[in-house]
């Protein structure tokens, strides 16, 4: 007995026995692997089948969308709001169907890793389904769009408009300006004439020259006056007095009603300035002392004083928002250091609102240049209508180009002038 036992033990722990055991195990595993190898194509086929099923399911779902909607409404009406609305029901139904499929897979005893793959795949599909909204789903089909393209799609209408209604017209205007333009039944015909129109404008057309001069004088005069007055009023309104809202409304009211014809009637009726202000200054006497352009500048100022004030509305409000954003602790620090309010205005307020000043200057220049009572715009409109030398669309577009260039020059000069005073390092 003992011998047998020892033999058995020997057998058990002998190398050969272990080898045998391992061999058996290996064989078993091999058979498992072989079975899996056999199964693999079948699983793949199943997966494919599953995908097909899923896609058909989705298509069916889309087909039955309307009925689902009805169901959802019915559910809503019967007080099933607790389900969380259509979206939740949609999710639930789809998820339950998917779960059915996946559980059927699990019943088929696929290996764990494959089941995991299924689940992953399911998750992936579900995410893809819900990734885009129903609206986008309806609009764009089932194409998923990368993030950056979303932004481009958002600005696409603007870009189309920009190309069609800004860049194309600007170039076409330039082409018109260097050619004779004739309007025929078939459309616009242009023949190249070189820079004839430009030369004519600067050599012989006095109306254009005076209009341009007046425009420049007006802008150079108006912009600083408007900026200073609006800054002044904004400072007053910002100084914690009662009734600020009332005054603000009054100062903004003109913006609402400023249009070419209305202002023109005001100027014609002499309401654009206070009565009698012309009599205060004797312009004929002044003309003997001062240069001509200064006198015309003064005349502009006095004759349209209220109108200049009327153009301040938006600027005042922009300045006010700018002033409110300044940190009050800076003022406190300045006053502790012994700065008077006058000094703190120059050393704290002005540098802090410098970007706002630049914005306002640009805004004022552009709004003044767009305004329909502007001498240049009136001239361009007039010149469009006629034919011959110094008239017609070709000539008008040449003037418009000159006007645009002058406007840009004025703008750049103003921006540089007002930017100079900033002592603050540039904000990041």
């Amino acid at each position: 007995m003992k011998k047998e036992k020892t033999m058995n033990n020997k057998k058990r722990f002998s190398l050969s026995a272990i080898k045998e055991k391992w061999a058996k195990k290996m064989a078993e595993e091999k058979t498992i692997y072989a079975r899996r190898k056999e199964e693999r194509p079948r699983i793949k086929a199943d997966l494919k089948d599953y995908r097909r099923k899923e896609i058909t399911l989705f298509k069916d779902y889309l087909k039955n969308l309307s009925s689902l909607w009805k169901e959802e409404f019915a559910a809503l009406h019967t007080g099933l709001k607790e389900n969380g609305g259509f979206r939740a029901i949609f999710k639930k139904t789809l998820w339950s169907k998917m779960h059915e499929i996946s559980s059927s897979f699990h019943k088929k005893r696929i290996s764990k890793s494959d089941a995991y793959k299924h689940e992953k795949y399911l998750n992936y599909r579900a995410k893809k389904l819900y990734k885009d909204d129903l609206v986008a789903e309806g609009l764009l089909g089932r194409i998923t769009i990368p993030e950056a393209l979303h932004g481009i799609i958002f600005i696409l209408p603007w870009f189309v408009g920009f190309c069609l209604l800004t860049i194309y017209p600007i170039i076409t205007t330039f082409i018109y300006s260097v050619s004779d333009v004739a309007i025929t039944v078939n459309g616009v015909k242009t023949t190249f004439v070189g820079f004839k129109n430009y030369i004519y404008a600067f050599s012989t057309d006095t109306a254009f020259q005076t209009a341009l001069q007046n425009y420049v004088i007006k802008i150079v005069l108006y912009v600083p006056v408007i900026t200073v007055i609006s800054l002044f009023l904004a400072l007053l309104l910002n100084s914690k007095v009662k009734g600020t809202g009332f005054f603000r409304t009054i100062f903004f009211l003109p913006v609402i009603i400023t249009s070419g014809p209305v202002i023109k009637i005001f100027i014609d009726q002499g309401v654009a300035s206070f009565p009698g202000i012309d009599k205060l200054i004797n312009f004929t006497e002044l003309a003997t002392v001062l240069p001509a352009f200064l006198v015309t500048a003064l005349q502009y100022l006095t004759s349209e004083f209220i109108m200049i004030l009327w153009f301040c509305g938006i600027q005042i409000l922009v300045f006010m928002t700018g002033l409110q954003k300044i940190d009050k602790s800076v003022y406190e620090a300045a006053s502790i250091d012994g700065a008077s309010s006058w000094e703190s205005f120059w050393k704290v307020t002005l540098p802090a609102i410098n970007p706002v000043i630049v914005i306002n200057v640009v805004f004022t220049v552009v709004m003044q240049s767009i305004f329909s009572l502007n001498p240049m715009i009136e001239l361009i409109q007039e010149d469009m209508k006629g034919t011959g030398d110094g008239k017609g669309y070709g000539y008008a577009s040449a003037i418009a180009w000159v006007y645009f260039l002058v406007l840009i020059v004025v703008l750049v000069v103003f921006v540089l002038l007002f930017k100079k005073h900033s002592r603050k390092p540039k904000e990041a």
């Binding site: 809202g245 005054f247 609402i256």
Partner: protein
């Protein structure tokens, strides 16, 4: 129990606020006020010229004086207009009557309403001011949102181009646009306003785009990401998060767009020709229109338009805008406050 007590209307009315910090200043009686302690050279000086903490009475007075002066100058034309529009012819001739009419005379308004063809033209004006403003707002908000929310190549160039479109005067692009619109059969109807507005090229659209850009940039990214995880698409995020945060920008854009479209005459006369007449356009040729109705024709001597009728016409033209502004004035001004137009 305490909560119910606090929510009681009466307790809320009579509930005194607890003041933390300095105790409230004792109210002085008149006797105390004029006693030697409180009424001497120094206190008077402090009252008039102010101390470090408090502004002086004189400066407050000065501020009010300047504000009232400027306020009067601002409304002066409107008051003048209102006064003159109610004057009869005898009032106008009478040198003793200035600014205020002797009696209410509404004939001017009747006549000028007839000349302006008021109700029809008002409808036209609304059609070419409010509707394009709505379109402009939609286009501007979409563009601003696209610029603020997403990163893509050439974004800065796009912003530069938007500023450029603001600078370009309309007279530079007017004629080619007109010929383009003629080709597309958009002239002489409202679509010549609607199409540029929808494509973000309406009147001063660039301003609105920049305002929207400013607003949408302040939306924290975590909120957007949370919405995305909840399954919201790009457009839904815009509708559910973007639009509510930029409410005041929408109001601003809508009102200013309406106003600017309303007051536009150059483009209107070019695009609409005789097909659509707006109120400002009719005001522009008020005299000829007046003569056509009331003027002398075929031996019958008629009237000529006097100052009062012009004023009444102007008043009628700007009346809808003023009414609109006064109705939404408070919301509008607060929205202007919120629109932080700084930087850039």
């Amino acid at each position: 129990m305490e909560k119910t007590k606090k929510n009681n209307i009466f307790s809320r009315l009579f509930h005194k606020k607890e003041v933390v910090g300095l105790p409230p200043k004792k109210k002085l009686t008149w006797k105390e006020r004029f006693s030697k302690e409180n009424f001497n050279r120094y206190t008077i000086k402090c009252f008039l010229l102010g101390t470090n903490e408090k502004r002086g009475f004189l400066t407050t007075l000065l501020i009010y004086a300047i504000l009232i002066l400027f306020g009067f100058v601002y409304i002066y034309p409107m008051l003048y207009m209102l006064g003159y529009s109610l004057m009869s012819e005898s009032d106008l001739v009478n040198p003793a009557v200035n600014y205020l009419p002797t009696s209410w005379y509404f004939e001017n308004y009747k006549e000028s309403a007839e000349v302006l063809d008021y109700w029809k033209n008002l409808g036209n004006t609304v059609l070419v001011s409010l509707v394009p403003a709505i379109f402009e707002t939609i286009a501007a908000s979409l563009t601003g949102y696209g610029l603020a929310r997403y990163e893509f190549k050439g974004k800065k160039i796009v912003i530069g181009l938007i500023v450029f479109t603001f600078i370009v005067p309309s007279c530079l692009t007017m004629f080619p646009q007109l010929s383009l619109f003629v080709k597309l059969h958009l002239v002489n109807n409202v679509w010549s306003y609607y199409v540029p507005a929808l494509l973000g090229q309406g009147i001063n659209s660039a301003v609105f785009i920049l305002i929207f850009y400013q607003f949408f940039r302040e939306i924290p990214k975590s909120i957007v990401e949370a919405a995305k995880i909840d399954g919201a698409g790009a457009f839904k995020v815009f509708l559910k998060i973007g639009v509510p945060t930029a409410k005041s920008a929408f109001l601003l854009s809508l009102v200013l767009g309406t106003v600017w479209y309303y007051n536009e005459t150059v483009l209107a006369s070019l695009y609409f020709g005789d097909a659509i007449t707006t109120l400002p356009l009719q005001l522009q040729n008020f005299e000829s229109a007046y003569n056509a109705i009331f003027g002398s024709s075929g031996g019958v001597t008629g009237k000529t338009a006097n100052e009062a009728i012009y004023m009444a016409g102007t008043m009628l033209t700007i009346l809808p805008l003023i009414l609109m502004f006064l109705l939404i004035q408070r919301e509008f001004v607060t929205s202007l406050d919120k629109a932080g137009v700084t930087g850039e």
